[in-house]
Amino acid sequence: MATVTVRTLPWYAPPRVAQAMRQVRRLPMVPLFLLTFLLVIPALLAPQVAPYDPLKGSLAKRLTPPAWHDGGSIAYPLGTDKLGRDILSRMIYGARVSFAVSFVAIVVGGLIGTSLGLMSGYFGGRVDALLMRLVDISLSLPTILLALVLVAAVGPSFGTVITVLVVLLWARYARLVRGETLTIKERDFIARARVAGASHTRIMARYIFPNVINSLIVLATLQVGYVILLESALSFLGAGLPRPTPAWGLMVADGRELIVSAWWVSMFPGLAIMLTVLALNLLGDWLRDHLDPKLRNV
């Protein structure tokens, strides 16, 4: 006779909680952690977490080295720059600047690019040909040169930087959305919506757009890092945000002549740029693998 073994079931978490836990554990922890501390908290809570005013310094305290260095003081953990401004505070406000610039530039560029891409793919024909030529031109422009010319002519300001970035960014969205629209518009449900009497605008906004959101999110995430790098390079060249804005690129530029005597002035903002961009790239890769594996080669 066969013996019946009775196994006691281990305790299981309710399925929904367990599922949520699994989802959470699969998140890319390192990049999220880095981003929270480098970008999100400083950007949102800059006035609360920054120990000093980023624009006011005391000349008596100028070029104080970081706390662990000889002559450093715990009052200025990462030292001060040549105007006696606290580097940590400037970096915290700098996160806010980077965040604002990349957010605005990507949202505006993304909106323009997405709507043009939708129209281009949906209507095809001459609209498509014209828009895609524009995309080709925009993608072949020498980035930094263009920005330099534009900024030198209009003068450095937040608006100019955003304009330059939008001019450089929109084309990728247009191309991506156009490609996806081309395949989606052949699907049955679009034809049915058409038969049901939906207008072109409605089809684009309600039927096609939701199908490209995933790719858009991935592209946008991958671009945040690129935008932060670009903005800091522009600021470094003096063609980005005007002084005394606490932008990371400007801070690195400030420390450039001081590299022999005061390395910390440009070292820490540079590190912040690097880690932020690194985290954003990791997050973007992860999102791409999970949301949209098609984009592997973008």
Binding site: L145, V149, A152, A233, L237, A239, V252, W263, G270
Partner: protein, 288 residues
């Protein structure tokens, strides 16, 4: 391209404001405008510009009196080409072996290390890397000079700075195309033939895997040219990048136009070169 540059240069500010002193009279304005042909309507200016540009004449520089824009660019270009070429060499010398190695030893420590290097490479701001390299190798160790142009030792730091970003992208490309080739039928055949493993990898595979990274070369050429602006400004390398920054600051449009057109020309030339190289490396393309 020329239209974009011309429009940008013209519509965004009056060069006379920069050229003339504050106390200049309206008469002075008029005289100088006539001298430079700025009193003509814009379309005439553009026609003249295109006509002359086709002959390689971009007019005289405003900032550096007595020099032609093309002359200035021609004088600075060798320095930039030298730097870009050396940077390309450095990045190929690093990216190719590392990329191949990480494909052959896929999934081992080598591969992971290469991946980390690639990720770091893509996240480093070039100007900051330049400053850090300067700080470590020039200020602290004193191995290389901090800036300027001279012998080989002047070139190493700027070239590494400029080439670093390429290394990452190139490595990933070499790795993925190597993986594909290593998996193909003819590689199995070479192994069956009993060829030495190093010969299989470095001769037969690499030759086939080099196609994809080659396409990338054309893009790299563009990136190196624009990247030279940043790198040259960090290391005070007297090339076209530094020239264009100075010219932009002084609103010296003739020089800016000349630089942008020359950059575009180089870009087109490298594309052509890549196409030719293709045919050499992959005979299949010749018969298509």
């Amino acid at each position: 391209m020329s239209l974009v540059v011309f429009t940008l240069a013209r519509f965004t500010g009056n060069p006379l404001d920069v050229m003339l002193p504050m106390e200049a009279t309206a008469e002075d304005y008029e005289r100088v405008a006539r001298y430079w042909g700025l009193d003509q309507p814009l379309y005439t200016q553009y026609a003249i510009f295109i006509g002359r540009a086709l002959q390689g004449d971009f007019g005289a520089s405003w900032k550096w009196p007595g020099r032609t824009a093309m002359g200035l660019v021609a004088e600075r270009l060798p320095a930039t080409l030298q730097l870009a070429g050396f940077a390309l060499l450095v990045s190929v010398l690093i990216a190719l072996p590392v990329g191949v190695l990480s494909a052959v030893k896929k999934g081992t420590g080598w591969d992971t290390a290469a991946k980390i290097v690639a990720l770091l490479g893509q996240s480093l701001p070039g100007f900051w890397l330049g400053i850090v390299l300067m700080w470590i190798f020039a200020v602290h160790l004193g191995w290389f000079p901090t800036s300027g142009r001279g012998g080989l030792q002047y070139m190493i730091l700027p070239a590494v700075t400029l080439g670093w970003f390429q290394v990452a992208a190139m490595m990933r490309l070499v790795r993925s195309s190597m993986l594909e080739v290593l998996d193909s039928e003819f590689v199995k055949l070479t192994r069956i033939k009993g060829l030495a493993e190093w010969k299989v990898v470095w001769k037969h595979c690499l030759r086939n895997a080099a196609i994809a990274p080659l396409t990338f070369f054309a893009i790299i050429a563009g990136v190196l040219m624009t990247g030279s602006v940043v790198t040259e400004s960090v290391f005070s390398w007297p090339g076209t990048g530094l020239l264009v920054i100075d010219a932009v600051r002084a609103r010296d449009f003739q020089v800016v136009q000349a630089v942008v057109i020359v950059f575009a020309g180089i870009f087109i030339l490298t594309n052509l070169l890549v196409d030719i190289l293709y045919a050499y490396l992959d005979p299949r393309i010749r018969y298509r």
